[in-house]
């Protein structure tokens, strides 16, 4: 008998996806199913937190873009 699992499908770049997988790897509390390179299904109630964590992670990794630039 097939099963239906409630969740949120996330479609994104492979790079972003790998970060999501990495975030999940700590407690395995986000991802329900890893579908392919660009898609994962995550728990509905965790999407918000995931977005936040992703933001934080990206902030760490992206160098502050040149905001100084001589005027």
């Amino acid at each position: 008998m097939p099963r239906a699992i409630r969740g949120v499908l996330i479609e994104c770049d492979p790079s972003i996806k790998s970060i999501i997988v990495n975030i999940d790897s700590v407690n395995h509390d986000f991802i329900i199913e890893d579908l392919d390179e660009e898609r994962v299904v995550v728990k509905e109630n965790m999407v918000h937190l995931l977005k936040q964590k992703l933001e934080d992670r990206l902030k760490e990794n992206l160098p502050p873009v040149d905001e100084s630039g001589s005027e």
Partner: protein
């Protein structure tokens, strides 16, 4: 019934002692007060208000604290949270303030008036009745522009409202003839063409359109200052220069650019990842920013573009604005249901095909026998009937 009929007729014709359309002043009108004078006066007053709201966007107003709107108006704007007092004591614009700036002048006036009514309504000691104040405003709207009216014909409460209305620029009272007042265009257009409030994003679109049609018809008074078409220069290094004095235009630019210098008739700044990000948080899209820049591109930009046969806006900048936007939309989320663990291929294929037919299929992988649908009720029913049929 006949009483109502009589009263309505009286009100419509402005007869009796109701004075639905005000009482014209019998005094001699000073010759210098004409339509142009009143328009100039109202525009000045209203621009002061806008300047005050805008003066915190990345640059200091060149006017200083001495001029600008009256203290009462300032307090009203703060009470209405159009500007906010920052911890360091300076004033800063709020998002509501941005939305306010991008409204048509008419909507701006109403926003301010409603704030005013609210504040006075909460303050019982003022002794002003909001309903009566509102009907006074409607009366003002029905008055004739350029005509003097008698202040003595007004009730005392209404007379007490006059100083505030002067502060807003809705009426003008000559210095040496305090017993007459002139409604300005801001007042007489109060009830005409009341467009619904715009969001920030619609405001940007409207500003873009008005530049494209290069008509300076932003509301009754040309909005918050003349929308000058062709004033913005943008360079390949993301620097931006705008030859403008318009508070509104500067405010719009400050939405998506980091302005760091202001001269009497020019502002300079630059686009950055952070500034575009901020704009997107306000609900403005990259395309809106690009079309705003294109619509307001300086003549010189058009000339160079024509000479070198290149697009008006530097392609690097256009692309980068779009990329910055994409950066903020890193993932697309769809809530729904993942269907898996099908017993055999046929079972899976039939169900997947069914969900595709009813238009709920979002993603499927035939190999893994899984699919994702944004609704599940009909699929459940489908599976049940199938099972029964077996």
């Amino acid at each position: 019934m006949s009483n109502f009929k009589k009263s309505l007729r009286l009100a419509l014709t402005g007869g009796g002692n109701h004075n639905s359309f005000g009482v014209p002043s019998s005094l001699l009108v000073p010759p210098e007060i004409d339509l142009a004078f009143l328009d100039r006066y109202a525009r000045k007053k209203w621009e002061d208000v806008l300047h005050f709201v805008v003066s915190s966007v990345g640059y200091k107003s060149s006017l200083g604290d001495g001029s600008g709107p009256n203290k009462g108006v300032k307090e009203l704007l703060i009470a209405g949270r159009l500007v906010d007092r920052r911890p360091n004591g300076s004033l800063g614009i709020t998002q509501a303030g941005f939305t306010f700036l991008l409204q048509e002048a008419n909507a701006q006036v109403w926003t301010l008036l409603l704030l005013w009514l609210e504040v006075l309504g909460n303050n019982k000691s003022s002794g002003l009745d909001p309903v009566d104040m509102l009907s006074f405003l409607f009366m003002l709207a029905s008055l004739e522009l350029g005509r003097a009216y008698d202040t003595n014909a007004l009730t005392e409460e209404r007379r007490n409202m006059l100083p505030s209305l002067v502060d807003f620029g809705l009426i003008y009272i000559p210095q040496h003839k305090r017993s007459m007042f002139f409604p300005t265009r801001l007042a007489t257009t109060l009830t005409s063409g009341g467009n619904s409030l715009r969001t920030i994003s619609e405001g940007v679109t409207a500003a873009t359109q008005s530049a494209q049609t290069s008509q300076q018809s932003l509301g009754p008074l040309g909005g918050g200052g003349e929308q000058q078409a062709g004033s913005v220069v943008i360079e390949t290094n993301y620097r931006l220069y705008a030859y403008t004095q318009s508070a509104l235009q500067i405010a719009v630019l400050a939405l998506f650019a980091k302005l760091n210098m202001r001269f009497p008739d020019m502002v300079a700044g630059r686009l950055s990842r952070a500034s575009i990000r901020q704009a997107i948080n306000f609900g403005i899209t990259a395309d809106q920013i690009i079309s705003y820049l294109a619509a307001h591109a300086h003549e010189q930009m058009h000339r160079t573009a024509a000479l070198t046969n290149k697009p008006v806006l530097p392609p690097t900048v256009v692309d980068q604005i779009r990329l910055w936007q994409l950066e903020n939309e890193r993932m697309k989320t769809t809530s729904g249901f993942l269907f898996r663990d099908f017993t055999d291929d046929k079972d899976y294929l039939d169900t997947a095909r069914f969900s595709e037919e009813i238009g709920v299929l979002v993603w499927k992988n035939d190999h893994a026998r899984m699919f994702f649908a944004n609704k599940h009720e009909q699929i459940k029913d489908f599976l049940k009937t199938r099972k029964r049929a077996e």
